[in-house]
Symmetry: D2
Subunit: 301 residues, 4 copies
């Protein structure tokens, strides 16, 4: 009877650390990358926050939101001018704004004085997206689009690599290695929910995998972000899971914020409004303090 | 084409709340049960902690541990004299101590002055277990052993119902209803890890489902405990997931503590030692404070 | 960095075969148990079929069905007088018939001349159930109710052990070992659907794991049955998955048959009627023939 | 309490059929697309077989295999000159042969007189791949690479769309709609294994989802292929799962065949050799006959 075999499975082995993703692998306990993007440090005591709408719907929306989240302590504005849509048909509200959206992001960046993280989906738009992006986001559906990873890494821009909802840590670190091997060390991982037997609501498709935070920490020195908005897909769960992410050791938090969540062009069940965001920043800062880290510049009242 | 149907599925519906588990169902936002067990309040600002070994291996072990965890702030001693074992063969170390174990628990309770939570697996041992238990634990493998649930509920003892690793919130609340319908209102739910596509280590069988905390909160007024030890099955992940549980809104924490973890009779990869437990209590208390709750009597230094 | 460890995980190891379930483990390729129950051979070329309603609703229902499925080639009548129900409240139609149901099964057995497979849920009813059962069924929710397994095995009756929907093959074979260690060699395993990220309908809770058939075959000599009715929970998928089970190498098939499926007391979405069953028997027999096995006595036209 | 909501979840709704993928949706029971590729009909009684190595390793390998599988009844040669690799480092054996591989495929096609199915991963190589491909394969990792889907569909070539291992039927049919909306009706779906809690071997990462065959049949008129080699990742399970696929109603079968499986450049645990393939073709043809379909031209002995 032959049961064991040498073939790679679901879990990371010692050999993987040495031969499959040596650049992503942690060299020893406590080894953690630190780097700075737009003056904001990643991998240290600060837990940077990325906030903003799912899609760059209009100039007014994105500028208003940029100013609001900046005032409330966010370190980066998030928002997509490009976004994969599960079905090919578009309504007026549910569409990518593409070149126009990139222009609006530039305006928001300038008006609010906040750096930008935004998604790139195709190599052909890489130059355009790089005009405004301080961090390039690779979305979960493109995590294993290796030609895109290579091209994005070669721009030299910092990259946030979202974990695919069906992928293991082994797959994720393999994808990160495609970035690092291009001599681009500023890579941030981002957990955003996985497929699982139970996701708790008819509308929720993903389960937030917070266990991945300590598990990935054990394997890699790269900063690990969490996106509770896409993971939970349900507004009331965003705050508890954001706080839990901070407590579990996340190095950055991405949260979807919209001035009028019910009327968001996509996924209106998940964004929080400006007031909720302000409250969440205060709460996250308190939890961060409890684990020896911080989010806001000053102590909240 | 007929797609929708009336049959129950994986997720909770409005109708379930009214007809399937009306006693477990939350009546309105903010509705939360509060009750007291052995002078410790559940469902309020305090987050009680259950600590101790997986199995009651010896009198010395359980008495020593009872005193140690009590000193470090634990509210209840946990430890099983009865425990389901996946395979029928027993080594000397890996066995249930049963009647003897119950006696040792009595000694520990008396010597340390700490209440007890311990598992019951069979109706025939219910009277015996009730001699020492302040809270009866129904293990995950018995979550849907309805005759056992009914018999346990009829003792009037408070019951902690662990979620089965393959069960939905709907199944879990259905099982809780079997307890409540016997006029036993002191029911605590406990999340302890579920089966999932990725559990991150070859030895880990479960993924901690912290999303279940806000999701169950939305449906039920019952207190929700978390057991990061059994969920993660890996010592280094216990502390981050315990802290995350507190931040996510857990109402109680169960954690496995052993004076000599590497030599624990079962599951030696998961318990933490007394020093680690002391540190964890302090950290959990800090996180609890950040979300308006508390664990220890006084503030930690 | 320490990654590998000796602790048991999700998958079966060589050591498990030797020390955890040596009686259930296959001794060499091709090793397969053969035994006879009520004159019907298991583990050989014949693929016995268990057919009947989910619950023994009434005497008329069970007698009529017994005669009908016997005429169409079924080898055993299935039907539960005891059945775990997810919620504690009962309607007139949705209830266990218990002692009365056992009497009705006796009538059906006598009138139709067909052996019986039926579930036992509690040790206290074991003698009663044994009065009529030729095979005791342990339901999936009781797969790890080890005291029940031990008591059932000691009756000497053949036992069909359904796989729990959250359990691995390792857990399942461990449970089977609890039966075998009591010197009861007539054990049949039964796959009946597992929890999985995608189950394809809002009402479907399980995914049929047909890969478990060749996978379990690799590990054990015990016959492996499949229950496509409970696995799919959806009538139109029962026939294709029953045929696929036969082609994958299943050693027995359990299928839910009801004279009036839409009005079945429980789970009305899954049973097939007598005509559909007749057609399915012919189709299964053809597929069985294609893989060198058979179901019916004579060749279908 | 608000539980239900209008937001899309995991499962297909009536509305999805009408507005999200009206072209992929089945119009009524029994509605099934039929079309011909290189003289081979899809969607009818014939079940075409795609056979060949995972990667086009060398000219000799691919020509030899093309002749061998053609002689044994395969309808198409499969083999990748482009293939996503989970890690960026390449050994001599484990590499894409790209332009050279395409040339070798041309030779194999000419020498063996067999049409070709091969993967395309990037728009930039689409023209090159189309020089030899009779069917373009979109791999599972690119299932939601919508720009690639659109570009591939515009070539007018038939396309086989592999299901992503983390995606629902809803996501899959949404991706198919991206192809159909470009007026390319010759689309084949292919199930190739999904992530699941239990995959049965330390080396197996996927669980074959055969339930998806009847489930997808209920929703779409498109032919549904199955790939038991990639699904099981384990040679001994390929034949039983291929036979089960045919019995479940699959419209095409993809199977990995290599002259020297143990020395295959990638995934050496999964291919079968020429003799095993010959036996499998005979067995599959027999099972096909049992469900009213066929694979080989003549009856096997």
């Amino acid at each position: 009877m032959q049961i064991e075999n040498k073939s790679p499975g679901k879990d990371v082995t010692e050999d993987d650390l040495k031969t499959k993703f040596p650049l992503a692998a942690r060299q020893k306990p406590g080894h953690r990358s630190r780097f700075t993007v737009a003056g904001v440090e990643f991998g240290g005591d600060l837990i940077p926050v990325f906030a903003g709408p799912n899609m760059v719907e209009s100039e007014e929306l994105i500028v208003t939101t940029a100013i609001a989240v900046k005032e409330r302590g966010a370190h980066f504005l998030r928002g997509g001018a490009f976004k994969p849509l599960t079905f090919p048909y578009r309504s007026a509200s549910y569409r990518e704004t593409r070149e126009q959206g990139i222009e609006w992001l530039k305006t928001a960046k300038r008006e609010a004085g906040i750096p930008i993280i935004t998604e790139v989906m195709e190599e052909r738009y890489l130059d355009l997206v790089c005009e405004v992006a301080d961090i390039l986001q690779i979305g979960s559906r493109n995590m294993q689009n290796y030609p895109l990873l290579t091209a994005a890494a070669r721009t030299g821009k910092p990259i946030m690599l979202k974990r695919h909802f069906g992928c293991s840590l082994r797959d994720w670190l393999g994808a990160a290695e495609y970035l690092l091997v291009e001599n681009n060390p500023r890579v941030i991982l981002c957990e955003r929910g996985i497929v699982a037997p139970h996701t708790h609501r008819a509308s929720s498709r993903f389960l937030m995998d917070l266990q991945a935070v300590p598990a990935a920490r054990e394997l890699t020195h790269l900063p690990i972000a969490c996106d509770p908005s896409h993971a939970t897909f349900w507004r009331p769960w965003v705050a508890p899971m954001a706080l839990a992410s901070v407590a579990a050791g996340a190095d950055a938090i991405m949260v979807e914020v919209h001035p009028d969540p019910q009327n968001a062009a996509v996924d209106p069940l998940q964004p929080i409004d400006f007031d909720a965001f302000a409250g969440l920043m205060t709460s996250m800062h308190r939890v961060a303090g409890a684990v020896g880290r911080h989010i806001l510049q000053e102590n909240p009242s």
